[in-house]
Symmetry: C2
Subunit: 288 residues, 2 copies
């Protein structure tokens, strides 16, 4: 248990990281919107394993919420987040205000096309541009580093990886496995919105992914058939409303004929006003 | 006269600049598309005055040319460019191939709205997104530096300045005054396309700007009237075809009522297939 240094300004962040680098310390960066759970802890642990100095940012980024979304009710609990960061040996928590991040209206957008407009992007227009833009800005503020993202937000990870390559950013992007509840539900800060009944039914996402993986293991290579199978399983939960269920190449996220190589199954399901996503993958290269 | 180090790969650039920074040397960066003229020389001179190590990039960026534009005929003369850089005490010339800059198709776009779609952006769709994207990428490759751009491409300068602020890039952007021929024509790599007759008539851009400035000096504050006056002057050149002539706030480039504060006059004029731009400015804050 350490006490992380809490920084509120970009200037302070630059000063502290400048000193760390001058001492030859490598920097690991975990960008978050706070409400930290065991999934975030796994990112911090990996960052601490691989780097000398770990920075966690806590910033609920307005750019990535649409007008009707949950920006206002998104959980904010910085004191508790600081305790979690201390337990995970984080050195620096960077928690800027909205005004510190965006002192003037931001006119610049970073966009990764067509990844930004499919799947989650289709039901959340502007979301991934908001993510890519704030992550590009955070990467500039933090400087050369390794950055850690959860595979649970697979499309986000694909977009940030591509942006980093395309813009030659001095950052190594690392994806880390999804952390789950014992019954298979992927951890998410939005799980707190679920009623007890919805929480019980929410295990249907994991079960749908398993059904899709089984079909692939049995030799099915038609992406549509795999999607239909996952959708059938989701429909067994009475309160679940399916947004999408797809089987796609893990990098492009767009099916192009029969499945082969590294495949990802992705799901989005609504329970009332709460939208849950999950995914899992398999490499078909060495199989039937 | 020095002999600049010619670098062809991103990796070599990183190594050489890493060594320079390890020695505590500051970096000045002049991004160009080559075909270097006295305008570029003035940027290099300013960079050499203010920094320990000067990098000039020479890269004709396909992203910023539309399909019908002059990508193929754009002048390329690296050997001559190296001579110019040597004369101006440039330390490093970074001249990557298209494949080195874009080893895979670039899916990421950096866009500054609405600046990207007005004026030159209106007649060159995608142009400024291509500029902003390649400059963001070059800034990543070069790292923290001062970067120098000519005021001749005023809209480009406004877009890059805004992008740098919005994304918190570790770069100080400096605009440098336009260099002109004795008869007032702004230097441009595209001037070589002009026929003798067009070259003679091309002085009309400078004369139109002067007429606009005179009207402002006389107290006119209506942007439309200033634009009309400049257009009248352009029309006196028989081969000139006006694209736009505007008087606007120097940062937003969009008129919003009467002119006040720092104002820029901007012009685009075609001679045959060659498009010339020019601009000049005045601060109205301390006048009538």
């Amino acid at each position: 248990m350490t006490t992380p240094t809490l920084l509120r300004t970009v200037e302070d962040l630059g000063t502290v990281l400048g000193s760390a680098r001058a001492e030859g310390r490598s920097v690991g960066f975990v960008p978050t919107m706070g409400a930290l759970h065991a999934g975030h802890r796994s990112l911090m642990q990996r960052a601490a394993d691989e780097n000398d100095c770990v920075v966690v940012s806590v910033f609920v980024n307005p750019l990535q919420f649409a007008a009707h979304e949950d920006l206002d009710r998104y959980p904010r609990e910085l004191e508790q987040d600081l305790v979690v960061c201390g337990e995970e040996q984080v050195d620096i928590v960077f928690a800027p205000s909205v005004n510190e991040m965006y002192p003037s209206p931001i006119l610049t957008t970073v966009s990764v096309s067509p990844l930004h407009r499919i799947l989650d992007g289709a039901s959340r227009p502007g979301h991934f541009d908001g993510v890519a833009t704030v992550v590009a800005k955070l990467f500039s503020m933090v400087g050369p580093c390794r950055a850690y993202f959860g595979e649970k937000d697979w499309q986000q990870l694909a977009i940030i990886s591509r942006m980093t390559t395309d813009l030659s950013l001095p950052v190594t992007v690392r994806g880390c496995p999804t952390v789950r509840e014992p019954d298979g539900l992927a951890l998410s800060s939005r799980n707190v919105y679920l009623t007890d009944e919805q929480r019980t039914q929410a295990t249907v996402l994991r079960r749908a992914l398993d059904a899709g993986l089984e079909l692939l293991a049995a030799g099915m290579r038609d992406p549509e058939a795999v999607g239909v199978r996952m959708a059938e399983v989701v429909r067994t939960a009475s309160d679940a409303e399916l947004d999408y269920a797809v089987a796609v190449p893990a990098d492009t996220l767009q099916a192009d004929g029969d499945l082969s190589g590294v495949v990802r199954l992705l799901l989005a399901v609504r329970f009332g006003t709460t939208r849950l996503i999950d995914n899992d993958g398999v490499d078909l290269s060495n199989g039937s």
